[in-house]
């Protein structure tokens, strides 16, 4: 897959690994943004500076750019590479999946427990076919990523595989490629360590202190007929989105013929993107890409991703007009 999903899948961004995200984002966005930088957490910031005098309003588009994976914690005497899983439950589906270490050593994930359904985050190991620790060249502290490529199926369906939430970052790339220059500073923030209790968001909120935040996230939906349109999340596990901002996004969507309905359910266990930004006083909303599961795999509709990008672009144009009116006054 040479398209962007394949490219996104190709970079190792296991949560906590501080991988090659910055290089990839610089390669994609350096022609479209004025500054690209990262912080010690691994967050990558792409800034499109606004026109007009300072202080300018700051709008941030935020999405997680890390994936589930493992970190090597111990090499057993019989060659098993014991792992700690970094990601969200359920864990049972991980057994039998192929994985690869930072240094390219491949293997299969297995569970120490006889009952994988009862497995915890520390109950997995990577089997590379070694029968003793001497045969293993993997080091403790090495990250291990899942080899499960995304797949574009028929009817605009995207099987997310190991890509997970990172697929949503396509919205940010789409917006960056086509958006103009506005009367406010526009930050594209690619969040690291989201799966580790939303640590990246805490750093990003402090670094940027945006006035407005639009978070982009996957929303797991159950039995929803239509997953081709983006959703406007009313809340996540840590914050409630701004009613006014939700209405503005809804109108922005309508103005370009996109349907963006409000969605009130949320995953209590999933880390919150909005919480840290709200704590610093930002007005927050979340545009969600609906994703459904067949019990094993997670799927979304690529039209929802395009719809989300179009909605946010439309919103940015409306906000720019407001800033112009404000400046004229």
């Amino acid at each position: 897959m040479k398209n962007i999903y394949g490219q996104l899948y190709g970079i190792n961004t296991v949560s906590g690994s501080n991988g090659k995200a910055e290089d990839f984002i610089k390669e994609k966005l350096s022609d479209f943004c004025d500054e690209i930088f990262s912080d010690s957490m691994g967050n990558v910031y792409a800034l499109k500076k606004g026109i007009g005098e300072q202080p300018r309003r700051k709008i941030a588009l935020v999405c997680p750019f890390c994936t589930q994976g493992f970190i090597t914690r111990y090499i057993d005497c019989d060659g098993k590479i014991l792992l700690r899983y970094i990601g969200e439950p359920p864990y049972a589906q991980l057994c039998g999946m192929r994985a690869v270490t930072e240094n390219g050593v491949g293997g299969v994930i297995n569970c120490i427990n006889d009952e994988p359904e009862d497995a915890g985050a520390d109950d997995f190991y990577l089997d590379i076919g070694a029968i003793s620790a001497d045969e293993v060249s993997v080091l403790q502290g090495e990250f291990v990523s899942l080899e499960d490529a995304p797949e574009l199926l028929g009817n605009n369906r995207l099987k997310l595989g190991a890509l997970g939430r990172k697929a949503v970052s396509k919205v940010l790339f789409d917006i960056a490629f086509c958006c103009g220059t506005y009367n406010f500073d526009l930050y594209f923030i690619f969040i690291a360590q989201h799966l580790l209790s939303a640590r990246g968001e805490i750093c990003a909120a402090y670094t940027v202190r945006p006035d407005t935040v639009i978070a982009l996230d996957l929303l797991r939906v159950n039995d929803r007929q239509n997953i081709a349109d983006p959703l406007l999340a009313v809340r996540d596990s840590g914050a409630v989105s701004s009613y006014v901002l939700r209405q503005e996004l809804c109108c922005a969507a309508e103005s370009i013929g996109v349907t963006a309905e409000c969605y009130a359910e949320f995953d209590k266990k999933a880390p919150s993107i909005m919480n840290a930004f709200a704590a610093y006083g930002a007005e927050c909303a979340c545009v969600g890409i609906p994703a459904e599961s067949d019990g094993k795999e997670l799927y979304c509709d690529v039209r929802a991703i395009s719809g989300a990008a179009a909605t946010v672009c439309s919103y940015l144009i409306f906000e720019d007009e407001k800033e112009v009116d404000k400046n004229d006054k």
Partner: protein, 347 residues
Amino acid sequence: MDYKILEKLCNAHGVSGFETEIMNVLTELIYDFADSIEFDAVGNLIAFKRGTHGSCGKRILYSAHADEVGFVIKHIEEDGTLLFDALGISVSAYAGAHVLVGKQRLPGVISTKPFHLVSEKQRGEAIKADELSLYIGARDRKEAEALGVYADYAVFDSSYEDFGDGMIKTKALDDRAGCAALVELMRRGVKYDSYFAFCVCEEIGLRGSRSVSHFVRPDICVNVECTTAGDIYGVTGAKRTCLVGGGAVVPFMDGASVYTPSLYKKTVAIAKKNGIPVQTKSVIAGGTDAGSYTREAGGCKVIGIAVPTRYLHSAYLVASKSDIDAVTALLSAVSDNINELMGGEEI
């Protein structure tokens, strides 16, 4: 390591939230070696020391926490017994323990449940914390109140002792060992201008270090701690976590932080290059002040160095002097190479 300093630090009292005594001891120890000493609003001691090479353009922080696990007296019963909350200690570690209460160091004993009151079924069960009390010899509430113990602290009554072959047993090794390593580094001198933070309230949620993050705004932090070693009877393989006598522990991850991956590898490389015994941890659990430094005030790069310690958060922590010396040596080596660590150069 000057073990007289470590002994002084371990014997001082400093339960989370009651760190005055330990901070006084630390101030006295670093007074002649620091260029400035201040306390922030929550009680952290933050010292600044000029380096022999001046500033490297980055803000460097060395951190250890000064508080220890202990108890807070929350109620006095009519019969003079005290009810308490344990800060950072599990019940199995303090039932029947000897303690010292407050600045007066009043001796006391934490109760156990009398044997005749324990049913057959209960004998296999864990003791419940709310069934325990602390007895200081007061005959009634009035006598206890007159001693001024309400809302005071209590610590384990166990002082520093050498034993065995180069081993130490003491209360509060976590993290007075880290504090001692920082004091040694200050006395030895540093290459570049650096901050040294002795934090409060780590044991009750990394609270002091959050304030230090905003006060110092470091670019890089070296956090020195004690970490749990599970190499005891009945524990095998990965569950041992790390080994006493195995050298300085350089962790790659714990429950609160992912240590900067590139710096983790470089720190291990520095240790090996300098012939310092080094190991890492095989269990990811717990959390240290590094959790604050990675995420507060925009975050910073973090290295962890730890002393493998048995029986953490109990009356007697056990560690090997060889490990403490390895931690001190590694801290010194990291300090000498800090500019290269930040600059991305190969060690």
